[in-house]
Amino acid sequence: MIVATGLHKVFNAGTASEKIAIAGLDLKVDTGQFVAIIGGNGAGKSTLLNLLGGAFLPDRGRIDIDAVDVTQMREHARAALVARVFQDPMVGTAPTLTVQENMTLALMRSEGRRLRPALTAARRERFKQALSVLRLGLENRLDTRAGELSGGQRQALSLAMATLCPPKLLLLDEHTAALDPRTSEYVMEATVSMVTHGKLTTMMVTHNMQHALSYASRIIMMDAGRIVADIGSDEIGGLTVGDLVARFRIKDDRMVLST
């Protein structure tokens, strides 16, 4: 279970450009839950994910992952528990390293690194298996540099990397937003299949209301650094995109209404 208590995050504190990004946020996410986070631009969605992943430390508050206090744990140490897929396909993979090398890095996220050969035949087999699930043929391109893959392929690779060793928390920040609609649907379906298979606790920021409604077991809406609505799975079933928009008077200029 993921527990955030009284989280505060202020950017540029004490200056004219002071910005309260997270303003006293409490959240409990049960193990295996798939939470969609929606909300307008600047609502604090990315900041929340960055706090959970450890990219920033909160000014106040506390974060527990499976009863371990990780509040002060630095990002690289927290990576043993938390995996991420970023919005920008360029960020999630190392472009000058091959697919196999990228997957090896992902494997070491939880296993740690030692002075022993990184690439082994056994690992290669394991990566082939993991990548074949994506049905993009990446399993036959293990020696291709990630930089030579298309945006969608790279994002799929990022996803495979994030889920290779099941994390205690998977963070997805608009991870399909930079892709064309077809590729976006494809990566979304791959995400759902991996999350369901691995029963992964997942938090996904999205501007696509249909994705939130179809795939998430819980929808959280954020505004001004707070959670302003929390919809459980029993409620989601009956909702349409129109209901969602009307009910919360969502003013989200990037919202995607149709699929």
Binding site: G53, G54, A55, R74, E75, H76, A77, A79, A80, A83, R84, F86, V91, G92, T93, A94, P95, T96, L97, E101, T104, L105, A106, M108, R109, S110, G112, R113, R114, L115, R116, P117, A118, L119, M161
Partner: protein, 297 residues
């Protein structure tokens, strides 16, 4: 004139093998970590001066070289720490450290230069014959460079080495995937400058003296060697990337020797080498056009 060049080929070859440590030391931060480092200009003479001081004080050559490597390692991590904790540009941090090392070298040797008798050196410890014949020196140096190359390739292919490459390839990804980028950058700088210091320690034993000015211009020479090597060997695989500085160093110093023997004035060399580095680094950017430049930045 050409005869003079041909006569010098073996001596230049031996020198270039030693200087290939410097080209390697420049490659590691520049290419692997994508964070250029100038510390080499200080760590190379530091290795030489440290080795000269302790060799003449009676320390055995192996411990002397180990000490030189440790000194270079320390210089490298100093630069990395200054860069990371004081938020000073890595180039400036390197210049600062290299400048400070100059004073350290004078203190260490107690004088601006020091001669090292052949019987104190590692060459002599292996076999007293070696320093007498240039080809035996070349064979020994080539074997050492070969070992370092193999070691470095194996390191880059290890889990730790792969993580080091990730730090340079994608700074945002590395912490998210569990890599302590600060630690890796620091150790990478240390490793590189340890190599440069080893080069300094070897050159002192080969030429028989150390001088506090022995690092002057070493960086631009090493960079030119690296660029030539990458033009010949390429850098598409990690093997090529590690071999390129060696090949580049061998070719570069022969070119310099050829230039000198055909009447090039030694004092013009720095200008020419600098211009060469500028052109090779700048030309691709100019020809690719503005869009490519900003995309690559």
């Amino acid at each position: 004139m050409i005869q003079a060049f041909i006569n010098l080929i073996p001596i230049t070859l031996a020198q270039s093998l030693i200087y290939s440590f410097v080209a390697l030391a420049i490659m590691v931060p520049f290419r692997t970590l994508s964070l250029p480092d100038l510390t080499t200009e200080g760590s190379f003479p530091l290795g030489g001066c440290l080795a000269a001081a302790v060799l003449t004080a009676g320390l055995d050559p192996w411990s002397s070289m180990a000490l030189a490597i440790a000194g270079g390692f320390l210089a490298g991590i100093s630069t990395a720490l200054i860069h990371q904790y004081f938020k000073i540009n890595s180039l400036l941090a390197g210049i600062l450290v290299a400048t400070m090392i100059w004073s350290v070298n004078l203190r260490v040797m107690g004088m601006p230069n020091k001669s090292v008798r052949p019987e104190l050196t590692a060459f002599d410890a292996i076999s007293p014959e070696i320093l007498l014949g240039i080809w035996s020196q070349i064979a020994l140096l080539a074997a050492l460079v070969g070992l370092v190359v193999l070691g470095l390739i194996a390191f880059y292919k290890s889990e730790v080495g792969l993580a080091l490459r990730c730090v340079g390839a994608n700074a945002r990804l590395s912490p998210a995937i569990g890599i302590n980028a600060r630690l890796y950058t620091t150790v990478g700088f240390g490793l590189a400058n340890g190599l440069a210091a080893l080069g300094g320690a070897i050159v002192v034993q080969q030429q028989g003296y150390a001088d506090v000015t022995m690092g002057f211009g070493i960086l631009v020479n090493g960079l030119a060697a690296l660029i030539i090597g990458e033009a010949i060997i390429g850098r598409s695989t990690i093997q090529r990337q590690v071999i390129a500085p060696i090949v580049g160093s061998i070719v570069y110093y022969q070119l310099i020797s050829l230039g000198l023997s055909t009447g090039l004035h030694p004092s013009d060399l720095k200008l020419l080498t600098g211009a060469f580095v500028l052109i090779t680094l700048g030309l691709p950017l100019l020809t690719k056009g503005r869009a490519a430049v900003s995309a690559g930045a």
